[in-house]
Symmetry: C2
Subunit: 203 residues, 2 copies
């Protein structure tokens, strides 16, 4: 549309940022169950209708908050694929633990997947939430797949490595421990996982 | 307790089996949301109080049903670790698809994780359900870890392979695709996953 055309009201990015900041704070503080869209609107100083027009349900708002968290983590190939993957998975683990503990006492030593499991369940329950979650991971994971492709081009990985499968092995192991087996995930585990995945097992 | 000691009333294994059969049928037919413990009691011909004494909530009953499904899948080392893993993961995939589609039309082509995500969320929400789910996977996965140890002893895997990490890479990738990215999981994917995991990536 040309400069003389009629323009719609510019979307208020400042209001969006205020909403998402307030939503993140509320989510980490209260957890999934007690997270309230109305309270977020109040905290952000926007009309509830404004908020609901953009995020029709609590789950939609939460997915956007989580996507924004993920986007704060850079992905870069530095020429050392082992170090790069270890660093990136460490960031994923930190983010998962943060989400896992949302709304729970900081001293909580239990293994519950918390908010991570709630988001997975919301995605399974509502097709549009599921599509939003999948789009978020598709977009994020594309960055890591590009990193792995660069490592392959630089000769750090076998020429016939499949980046998608390789990343499933890495990220999958982390989510599996968090969502299914409840086994602990720490730096030492990330090191073992990266070593095992890059090295392979067949004698 | 000796043969002359007083014995408690023998637990009715027949009643348990009737309950669990009815529960499985109801679960696959109705899905998580519409699954009803009262209906299962009626179908199995047992008093509701009997059922609730043994499984205090719907989630506890569902976890037992899923554990029983898992126990129907044998795990055996035949001397060919690639074939054994491919076979076992194929069974896991079939079980996941069955649970995923519980309560939904058979023609449903969507990628929702369905019941699998609901069980993960229930495990995250209730500490005792979480403990039951983790115990179930701990018990089942121990069989696969033993299989991998045998493969290691037979020289099919490197001597320093860590079975737990290796199995996380395999099972994790499947659950990650189902619960997080929504990417399809089929036989061809299982083949690629096993090949990638056993072979390793570093050039």
């Amino acid at each position: 549309m040309g400069p003389t055309g009629r323009r719609g009201r510019p979307r208020s990015e400042a209001a969006d940022a205020r909403i998402l900041d307030a939503a993140l704070e509320s989510l980490l503080d209260r957890g999934y169950d007690r997270f309230s869209v109305d309270e977020v609107a109040m905290q952000a100083g926007v009309a509830k209708t404004t908020l609901y027009r953009r995020w029709p349900t609590k789950d939609h708002l939460i997915v956007t908050v989580v996507a924004r968290l993920q986007d704060s983590v850079p992905v870069e190939y530095t020429g050392d694929v082992r170090a790069d993957l270890t660093h990136y998975l460490g960031e994923i683990v930190a983010g998962l633990h943060r989400m896992r503990q949302a709304g729970r006492p900081a001293t909580s030593g239990d293994a519950s997947a918390g908010l991570v499991a709630e988001v997975a369940a919301a995605a399974a329950r509502h097709a549009d939430v599921g599509a939003a979650v999948q789009a978020m991971f598709h977009r994020r994971n594309a960055l890591v797949l590009t990193l792995l492709e660069h490592a392959r081009e630089h000769g750090e990985l076998h020429a016939d490595v499949e980046p998608e499968v390789l990343f499933d092995q890495l990220a999958g192991a982390l989510y599996y421990r968090l969502l299914v087996t409840g086994r602990p995930i720490d730096e030492a585990y990330v090191d073992r996982l990266v070593a095992s995945t890059l090295r392979g097992a067949s004698a």
